[in-house]
């Protein structure tokens, strides 16, 4: 059943994302083309260039805002409006419903990032030697590896921790949207308003929680906790703590959403 849910979740969201990506590309290409005529010194040419570039920048930010909005809209619409009468009477578990929505939202978030980076490449075509950029990036990378080797002997550990942290943070940010709606629907009335409140509420708690942990971490005597951690230095430990914190936050959002949707669904 999960694969079927994924299929329909994909179909229902693709119709928003594809035009948005298309528009971003169009703005990047149009902007890039307008620069081909920059030798022609003409006021209207300048106006056009600036307008197109502004449009591109607007769309660039717009892609991320839209990604957030589409994820939130789809979740709310499919679960808590009239469509919820069908969604909640399908013979599927709440766990599967949430998983399908999470996976698809995750994929679109990653796509949006890739597409945004790709649009910059389009804009830069012909202005930058990409091989030089890659060369320079390679040098930066070598430098990074050297520095990590010096200050953090387990660079692979740091890298893994870093990637996991980004993935978890993304999952948590999606689940935070879901959890907000799950809380929002508890009252019956003013669902969206309460969901927005919950979203910011969660943010405040998350910040507070994260800051507290970060302030405590330096005082932790981690060698007592990890007696075998000889050689592992502060960088890894801080990341590890952050990772655990992130894992807890993600789990809390997931469980809150799941429990509320399973036990307290009250479509009125």
């Amino acid at each position: 059943m999960l694969s079927k849910l994924l299929k329909y979740e994909w179909k229902a969201t693709a119709r928003f994302f594809l035009p948005i990506y298309g528009l971003l590309f169009a703005m990047a290409v149009a902007s890039r083309i307008s620069w081909l005529f920059s030798e022609v010194d003409n006021v209207w040419n300048r106006v056009l260039e600036i307008t197109l570039l502004m449009g591109y920048i607007f769309m660039f930010g717009g892609v991320f805002v839209a990604t957030f909005l589409v994820i939130a809209y789809r979740f709310y619409k499919n679960m808590f409006t009239d469509e919820g009468y069908l969604t909640f009477t399908l013979p599927v578990s709440v766990g599967n419903l949430l998983t399908s929505k999470l996976i698809i939202a995750f994929i679109w978030s990653v796509f949006s990032t890739i597409i945004a980076v790709f649009s910059i490449v389009i804009l830069m075509l012909g202005y930058v030697q990409f091989d030089t950029i890659f060369q320079q990036l390679g040098m930066v990378w070598d430098e990074l590896v050297r520095a990590m080797a010096e200050y953090a002997p387990h660079s692979w550990l740091i890298l893994t921790e870093g990637i996991l942290l980004v993935i978890l943070a993304l999952i948590a940010s999606i689940l935070r949207i879901f959890a907000s709606f799950a809380v929002g629907q508890l009252t019956g009335k003013h669902k969206v308003l309460l969901a927005i409140g919950a979203y910011f509420g969660f943010g405040v708690v998350e910040q507070f929680f994260g800051l507290t942990v970060l302030m405590i971490t330096p005082y932790l005597n981690y060698r007592e906790v990890f007696p075998d951690a000889y050689g592992i230095v502060t960088g890894e430990i801080v990341l590890l703590v952050l990772l655990i914190v992130q894992l807890v936050v993600t789990a809390i959002y997931g469980v809150v959403t799941w429990v509320l949707m399973k036990r307290n669904v009250n479509l009125q």
């Binding site: 059943m1 919820g84 069908l86 009477t89 399908l90 013979p91 669904v265």
Partner: protein, 232 residues
């Protein structure tokens, strides 16, 4: 065999107001049952509880002996009193959707009924009128070979021709082992279609009886009895 629907001391309140109070009810298989009561008497609440869209405040509601969940959703076909289909989908897409999720969905039956309605399967739902959308929804719900059909106000606010269409669709797809529960306040329109009636008033069951028994013992139609029971 378990009754297809059973309520045991079922209660539901919403923030202080009582919607259902101590409902005890058994609905057997193979019946067409009218759930009759004025607006706001608790009909929709009862049907939503049976679908797991609301949770009981106290007591139990059981479908084929099970609390609402994945298993019961497989055997219950539900028509809500609102349109729940995604507007951007085409008729063909919603049929695929139902066929994908409900193992008891009969695709041929659905296409047959849609053709008779003169509907193109490529039509998008948002281009259809409200009445047509409601008919599409009824076709989807009745194309399932379910054990329990819960139809919430299927004939509320439609013209007599549409009402006849709806009743014919319900009778034409009726399977003698299944139970159909139809909630409505328009009794005279559906009285002849019903085996049994359940009268519900202010969240309580006031009568459960066979239609012809009422006519035989009381010498009046269910509609007339309803008007007496619920006289304002």
């Amino acid at each position: 065999m378990n009754p297809i629907l059973e309520c045991r001391n079922l209660n539901k309140h919403f923030q202080g107001t009582i919607a259902l109070q101590n409902i005890n009810l058994q609905v057997p298989r193979g019946r067409i049952v009218g759930l009759l009561g004025p607006n706001g008497s608790g009909k929709t609440t009862l049907i939503k509880l049976a679908n797991g869209l609301l949770q009981p405040s106290a007591g139990q509601i059981l479908i084929d002996g099970m609390a609402p969940g994945i298993e019961t959703k497989r055997i219950v076909s539900y028509l809500p009193e609102r349109t729940y289909l995604s507007e951007w989908m085409t008729v063909r897409q919603v049929i695929d959707f139902f066929a994908d999720f409900y193992a008891d969905f009969n695709r041929d039956k659905a296409y047959d009924m849609l053709t008779r309605l003169g509907l193109q399967s490529t039509a998008r739902l948002k281009t259809l009128s409200k009445g047509t959308k409601e008919k599409v929804q009824l076709i989807l719900v009745m194309s399932r070979e379910a054990q329990l059909y819960l139809l919430d106000e299927p004939i509320g606010g439609v013209d007599p021709a549409a009402r006849d269409y709806i009743l014919h669709t319900i009778i034409g797809n009726y399977n003698p082992n299944a139970t159909v529960i139809i909630s409505t306040h328009l009794i005279s329109d559906i009285e002849n279609v019903l085996d049994d009636v359940i009268f519900i008033s202010r969240g309580e069951i006031v009568l459960q009886s066979n239609v012809d028994d009422i006519r035989e013992t009381q010498g009046k139609t269910v509609d007339a009895l309803f008007r007496e029971v619920f006289r304002c």
